[in-house]
Symmetry: C2
Subunit: 377 residues, 2 copies
């Protein structure tokens, strides 16, 4: 049995829900490699420094809570993942495996994360696991933990709000100091610096600062281009706080904006407001996307809105649900999402406006405090 007295909250609750999900699917256990999933279920913070460098794995199943990691993370395993049995593979994974193998001999099935496990890891663990239990079924599963993560508890929402405050304050400060002649790279650096100065523990992702025609690339990398008056300057960046991400896009113009800027900006903002007013629990993600997309479509700019309306945000910048026209899923309360329509005109530039919101029964609650959008009407 799991020693429930030892596994602290919120991990206790999360593990209980996960075990229930496994039971529903008649599965004995799951091996968890994905770094945010590991942290969500155990509190173990180390990320994976590179694609092919794992800091460890959890095995969660009826009667077993194991955290496997190498000696580098022994300290973290003990202090951060209370309630889990540490399995420190001192002699390398293969040689140390017998230390825990007997715990799995009676399991019927073990699933792994099909989206996160590399082919090599899949083959390696299949061999290890079958070496002690020939009959175990070892197959992929998709997003069991990711789906749990999509609905946030109060503390998670508080952490996201705090992170967003840091991001908004950084934007506000950097925006005041925008001058023609500064380069995109300089401004990106000011954003990074300000995030750390405001107490951000990390960047959620590398900031985008894209000016003029560069703003027509939805994911432009900051360049040495100097910003100018009268052109769109697109920002997209975010911070992390206690592991939780925020994500903010704004588009501004120094000096008098052109008629085209006014038209495109107003349209994007209108689409955003439409989605902010209409999204609520019970809609599908595709319906949510359509609220904004139809505004842009009707104005004839549909083909210039090249990406989905938004995405979940939490321990990862991009997580479930995806608010997009494809693969509709039901939206549920306590999901935290972005609402970020955009229009990108090759050669001219683009406008993207991104807020964050928590979904409630009858509406969304926008988490942004700074709603100082241009109003050209």
């Amino acid at each position: 049995m799991i020693k429930k007295d030892r596994l602290p909250n919120p991990y206790n609750k999360r593990v209980r829900i996960l075990l229930e999900e496994l039971r529903k699917r008649s599965l004995t256990g799951i091996i968890v490699f994905q770094p945010e999933n590991r942290r969500y279920l155990s509190g173990f913070k180390p990320g994976d420094p590179q694609l092919n460098e794992s800091s460890g794995f959890l095995i969660v199943g009826e009667g077993q809570l194991i955290l496997g990691t190498d000696p580098r993370f022994e300290g973290e395993a003990q202090t951060q993942a209370r309630g889990y049995t540490p399995f420190i593979y001192r002699k390398g994974l293969e040689a140390s495996w017998p230390e825990i193998a007997d715990r799995l001999t009676k399991w019927r099935s073990l699933v792994f994360e099909g989206f996160s496990v590399t082919y090599h890891t899949y083959r390696r663990f299949r061999r290890l696991i079958r070496s002690v239990n020939k009959d175990i079924s070892f197959r992929p599963t998709y997003q069991i933990v990711e789906e749990m993560r999509s609905r946030k508890d109060k503390k998670e929402i508080e952490a996201i709000k705090h992170s967003l405050r840091i991001t908004e304050e950084a934007f506000s400060q950097v925006c005041k100091a925008l001058r023609p002649g500064k380069t995109e790279k300089q401004i990106a650096w000011e954003l990074k610096k300000t995030i750390f100065q405001k107490g951000g523990e990390d960047l959620a992702f590398d900031p985008i600062v894209a000016s003029g025609p560069n703003a027509a690339l939805p994911h432009a990398e900051p360049s040495d281009r100097e910003i100018r008056r009268g052109e769109p300057i697109l920002f997209d960046f975010g911070s992390k706080w206690k592991g939780y991400c925020s994500d903010l896009s704004r588009t501004v113009c120094l000096g008098p904006p052109s008629d085209r800027f006014k038209e495109v900006y107003s349209l994007v903002r209108l689409a955003q407001l439409k989605a902010e007013k209409g999204i609520r629990a019970g809609l599908t993600s595709a319906d949510g996307d359509a609220l904004a997309r139809s505004v842009i479509d009707k104005a004839g700019y549909g083909k210039y809105f090249k990406h989905s309306l938004g995405h979940g945000v939490g321990l990862a910048t991009h997580e479930l649900p995806s608010i997009s026209p494809v693969k509709p899923v039901p939206l549920a309360s306590d999901m935290v999402i972005t609402i970020e329509p955009g229009i990108y005109l090759p050669g001219w530039g683009g406008v993207r406006l991104e807020n964050m919101a928590v979904i409630r029964e009858k509406s969304v609650r926008v988490l942004n405090k700074e709603n100082n959008f241009y109003d050209f009407s």
Copy 2:
């Protein structure tokens, strides 16, 4: 045929070598997902923002050079990956696949990167590829491109040296301002800030600043602990320049060091010097590791040197070769590696000293300019 006139250097040369490697193994082509491998072979810079978010793939084989990516990276595909046929999957990967599928109908085999491709991607592409060519063999390969990357050309070494200069200058500046009472987090932030101020384009990885007992964790995360006099303070951090990484560890002590600090530090430095003097092309990686490890073993500290002696550095912070006791590989000239012995004593702290070096026929050339180590002899 590949239009060799269109593929610029150094990608032309790299692709030629890769095609030769494939021919030796009787393979028709390779599909490349790993972000650094993609960049190395094509110049396409976008990384993968998250484990499960690919910015695209290359298909490299006799007669075909394809860069597949989604519309977000259309601009980058055209400007950065000259010589590759862009395949922009506008309708989603599955729906767009027929646009390029006929290029693969006559291929006998296509290999993928077993260490980098997720189980899901493996299954997805196997299905796509077999939908047009039932007889194609689709199987994993390991580190063909990574092995090519381990030996650097002159421009790569110049970029690494420049990155290391930035890192060393940042350390020198932050070190001068060390005072008891500053927290590890504050110092980590000063390192980050200074790297960007000195022109670094990014961090190679999150800086480690670990003081006192925290320095006994080889991969400690900076905490709110205030640094004190007389204890080891361990730094490990690096910058990126033109995509290339640097990696530097130093351990310092404010005020008079204890006898134990002197003993441990001198031993680590001796081990490092032994390796710097002995490593050369033709040795195995295990022999290289043993040069330093034997010094520490003989002094009775062997079990406190918990990690390998070093690793290759290039587009990734950790790449081939691994300088470790296991899986020996021959060392070759033009490999760029770290030499970083360490001793970690639980409860007390640790010392790690890390230089970077390029391997030559008869020796290594240390790339560090700042060799201001303590000399307690």
